[in-house]
Subunit: 348 residues, 2 copies
DNA sequence: TTGTACGCGTTATCAA
DNA sequence: TTGATAACGCGTACAA
């Protein structure tokens, strides 16, 4: 068992050809006579050689076929969100033709020795969201000259971004509610910062996560004084908890709730049901994302529909372009407003 | 911009030391005088050198710090399941101290050029589940001499497995139902094969996915004739669809449903509510996994509690051991039966 | 404590 | 169509 694995030189020797010829047989970059190919292949089988060592190839080629995806939170949390899942799917799909796969990296980890954007053999890095710890990753990455793409976050100039019209889209939903006559409106936000605690938002500047702030701004363009309840993140349970707070006092409850994600909206609806409030008769609820929420039927959310898979694909395309030496432009995606059955006229 | 990136030799030259000394400054493997270190660091800053190139290091060291995770389905689908998410978290956590990260690979992809277990610079591979396409990956991996660990699947001897007592655990739940007097029991299964179509199970041998078959066997140990409805996978919506089928005919509906996952169980419960059946008064439902189901409250499932994070950690530990040259043993995890409020006595 | 020399396994280039 | 050569950038015995 201590026998060294065969290398391409071994195969070449066994086949009676030069290493470069053997290499070409495997890469197919140059025509090779059938006879030679045959001999090399046989030699490979004999020696149990299964193809070039990817490590050596990546040193030689200067490409590892690995795209780092820097996520801020645990995988469990991150992938709870259907938007993130779909985005990752789109990204994976878009980088696959490059022969690249996705390496999951955490921007911040307590674990000693954990892999980082610097220690891993990356061809490029994709940053999702943009928070303080993420900006660190960013700095080291750009010093390395590593191609970087940022999804929904600002990374300064020169870094292509994949953006969403969060503010404008959210404003559309708010105006929809206003047109239905709603005045007492509450906002349920996504996570505001790396701090996981929720609660009533005191100051807009407490929000360090771009998406959250942008959607908040959009809602407040229409309802400047709407109170905002911050959650720990996009999940039904977080929405449920927020909803319970909102509906606790029957006298002061909002007639409409703007949730910053469909999952949160689903939770708010569940809280409304608990409080014996009918949706949309007693309370209207809007979501954001337009993703299928597992188990939300029969409700169909009034929401902003985005295309997370396309966002992922766009990020992948940007990566591909940068690997080609181009400097891709940023891309702005637009949401579509979809009216479902969770919003209706305000009760008089 | 065409200037080559600085290498450690450049830094050494700039600092007036030899490359090996500069190398040692970065690796810390050998003591270096403070003066020298200082000079090297300054030279590095001057040249914009950010540390050793991971590609070259991985060739030299024979380790890339990358563990491949081979998944059978789309990321969106795979990470829909909380069990998988938690497992991945445990796995990531366990390999991080090795300086390793997780590279997502698909066992089967239509995309030309997609990265594979062979083309990626892996230190080890973890296979999740075990289906026909996965067995292919397996064969090539073991020929490479790549350390492999399989989670819930059989990969032949020599391959450490992380197993769950699916059959015994499921039998426990079935016996619980029998003790409550249930006779008309239906089973709602996980996906049966790479084929996504669902429907009534005709033949046990149609199931090529181990987990599904094992849990089925466990249920049938107690209820040999229980009909089984196959779904396309673990989700609330799939459970809802299955439940609708089961409860369609009021005269022939089961008094208890054994769902092979908590998500499916949640869907079945929702279907029961739709059909105006009370849980557990009119129909009992058991799940499997014991994970928090987002939005299932106030129900607390009667279920088999497993520890997916620990399973992931165990897989990571096995990987670590194999990288040390050891041959770790397989690990069998055991479920705990937890009685919730979704099972009760059969109606007479 | 520092430097020399070599090899890790490939593949691109160019000449034959 | 094939072969010789030279990197790719680093880490580490070993010698000094």
């Amino acid at each position: 068992m201590t026998t060294r694995r065969a290398t391409i030189s071994d195969v070449a020797r066994e086949a009676g050809v030069s290493p470069s010829t053997a290499s070409v047989v495997f890469s197919g970059k140059t025509p090779v006579s059938d006879a030679t190919r045959q001999r090399v292949m046989e030699a490979a089988t004999t020696l149990g050689y299964t193809g070039p060592d990817p490590r050596a190839a990546s040193l030689r080629l200067g490409r590892s076929g690995i795209v780092g995806v820097v996520v801020g939170s645990s995988l469990n949390y991150m992938f709870l969100d259907p938007v993130q899942r779909l985005m990752m799917d789109g990204l994976a799909e878009a980088v696959a033709p490059l022969g690249a796969g996705l390496l999951l990296l955490r921007s911040h980890s307590d674990i000693e020795n954990a892999p980082t954007i610097t220690s891993a053999p990356l061809d490029a890095a994709v940053l999702i969201g943009c928070d303080a710890p993420l900006r660190d990753s960013l700095e080291t990455a750009r010093q390395r000259g590593l191609p970087i793409v940022v999804i929904e976050g600002d990374a300064g100039p020169d870094v292509p971004q994949i953006l969403l019209d969060n503010r404008e889209a959210q404003r559309t939903a708010a105006e929809h509610l206003r047109s239905l006559g709603h005045e007492r409106v509450a906002i349920v936000t996504l996570r505001a910062s790396s701090d996981l605690r929720g609660g009533w938002l005191r100051d807009r500047s407490d929000i360090t996560i771009d998406v959250t702030r942008e959607r908040l701004d959009g809602a407040r363009d229409t309802y400047p004084d709407a109170p905002a309840l911050v959650t720990a993140g996009s999940s039904i349970d977080q929405g449920l908890a927020a909803g319970r707070v909102l509906f606790a006092d029957p006298g002061r409850r909002p007639t409409a709730v703007i949730a910053q994600s469909d999952l949160l909206a689903a939770g708010v609806i569940r809280a409304a049901e608990e409080a014996d409030l009918r949706v949309p008769e007693d309370v209207s609820v809007t979501g954001f994302d337009g993703v299928p929420v597992d188990g939300l039927a029969p409700y169909e959310l009034t929401t902003l529909v985005q295309a997370p898979t396309d966002k992922g694909r766009a990020a992948g395309a940007a990566v591909a372009a940068m690997l080609e030496g181009d400097q891709p432009a940023s891309v702005l995606f637009t949401c579509t407003f979809r009216v479902g059955n969770t919003t209706g006229p305000a009760q008089v």
